[in-house]
């Protein structure tokens, strides 16, 4: 190998190293995936998804099995969350999805609880059972209102409680 050959070889190494760096940024850090192989796309409807973002993780028993692909609004003004799950995942059709928080103020993620049916979910199907995100401010507000009601009228709270329960199925 003459001097020019060595130089060209080093240049080739540089190009390779640069391409590897860009590929690492795109695939590992950027999460670029080849979409053609088809993961398990399913969706779920929630009343409240505050704090959930695209790319938020989806977990079963704390193990990451996919991520939130997109969040939109459906015709009935409920939040439609599209999930991109691992294609190898065998998820029973009566599984449920809940939006939970890592720690008290941490990031939101979706927790799936597998059901007991023998039938497995197919791509594009809906997760029927959902539990919405807890909005801390609303909880505090409700608590304060309830405390206020109780201190004013002693016999009213029973009626108010049943009313509240009917309002939120």
């Amino acid at each position: 190998m003459n001097a020019n050959g060595t130089r060209d070889f080093v240049t080739g190494l540089f190009v390779l190293a640069g391409l590897v760096a860009l590929a690492y940024l795109s695939f590992t850090v950027g999460g670029l995936r080849y979409k053609g192989d088809g993961g398990l796309p399913v969706y779920a409807l929630f009343d409240q998804v505050a704090g959930l973002k695209p790319k938020s993780p989806v977990e079963i028993a704390g193990v990451r099995v996919g991520q939130v692909a997109s969040i939109g609004l459906d015709d009935t003004f409920r939040a439609r969350v599209d999930l991109d799950l691992d294609s190898t995942l065998q998820l029973p059709v009566d599984s449920s999805a809940a939006i939970v928080t890592a720690g008290i103020l941490g990031d939101r993620y979706i927790q799936l609880t597998p059901g007991a049916e023998d039938l497995m979910m197919k791509p594009g199907e809906q997760i029927a059972y959902t539990e919405s995100a807890l909005v801390l401010e609303r909880l505090i507000g409700k608590f304060l209102v309830n405390v206020g009601d109780k201190s004013k009228t002693e016999d009213a709270p029973a009626a108010a409680d049943t009313g509240a329960k009917e309002g939120t199925p």
Partner: protein, 258 residues
């Protein structure tokens, strides 16, 4: 009053004339690009000079920038108890902004200036005229390999810069500040998106590569053929390319949110 308006008009005319010459120069490079012979050997040699010889400065600067970013990010985030988001802060600011911009500024200083000086000196010592005497177009033989090598090297160097900076940030955040290594990487991977962040970073570095390539070769090609002229052209390459890169950085970010 009339005189100052006239002066303004003359200045505007001069600027647009210069921009027109630059565009014509770019068009000439493009026109000779596909004309055989492709001169792959010259291109590869220039890629060595511009790319390989810049690796050291790019990686050392990258590690230093990543370390200081991690340190500053940590001291700010820890006030809000959010130090677990350090990876996201370091990764996003590097990929979206600092990687392409700082790489472009470093490459301008390291390689852009030498490209201008080389072409300018060739002009001052009448080597370009010599090429023309032999019926070789200097744009084809001298300018084209340098311009393309610059445009190709920029995204590759930017990728190396970002990787070194992420590693430097990892060292400070995880080894010195005691953040969990998995938390650092996963918070980065969860917040960095390909379409929004990495693709924008690539677009920026490609545009910056073209800007620096054009300005440095144009300045060299139009340098006054004296030693003072070459030195003025080299200075003006560094100043003009740096300012243009920063202005285009804002424009790209504002228009496409990258």
């Amino acid at each position: 009053m009339t005189e100052s308006v006239t002066r303004l008009g003359r200045a505007a005319g001069g600027i647009s004339e210069e921009l027109g010459r630059l565009a014509a120069f770019a068009a000439r490079i493009l026109a000779v690009t596909l004309r055989p012979p492709l001169r792959f050997g010259e291109f590869w040699a220039e890629l060595f000079k511009i790319g390989v010889l810049s690796i050291l400065i790019i990686c050392v600067s990258g590690v230093a920038v990543g370390m200081v970013l991690s340190l500053q990010g940590y001291t700010t985030l820890v006030r809000f108890g959010a130090e677990n988001s350090l990876g996201a802060v370091v990764g996003l600011s590097l990929i979206r902004e600092l990687g392409p911009v700082l790489t472009a500024l470093l490459v301008t200083g390291r390689a852009g200036s030498s490209v201008t000086a080389e072409i300018g000196t060739m002009k001052a010592t009448e080597q370009l005229d010599g090429l023309r005497m032999m019926a070789i177009d200097p744009i084809d033989y001298v300018v084209r390999p340098k311009a393309w090598a610059m445009a190709v090297a920029m995204p590759l160097l930017s990728g190396l810069f970002i990787i070194s900076a992420i590693a430097g940030g990892y060292f400070v955040g995880v080894q010195l500040m005691g953040i969990d290594g998995g938390t650092y990487m996963s918070s980065m991977e969860n917040s960095v998106d390909f379409e929004n962040d990495v693709a924008g970073s690539l677009l920026k570095s490609v545009v910056f590569g073209i800007i620096v390539a054009l300005i440095s070769t144009y300045r060299g090609h139009t340098a006054e053929p004296t030693s003072a002229g070459v030195s003025a052209a080299t200075t003006s390459t560094v100043v003009l390319a740096s300012v243009t890169v920063l202005v285009f950085d804002y424009i790209l970010t504002a228009l496409w949110g990258v």
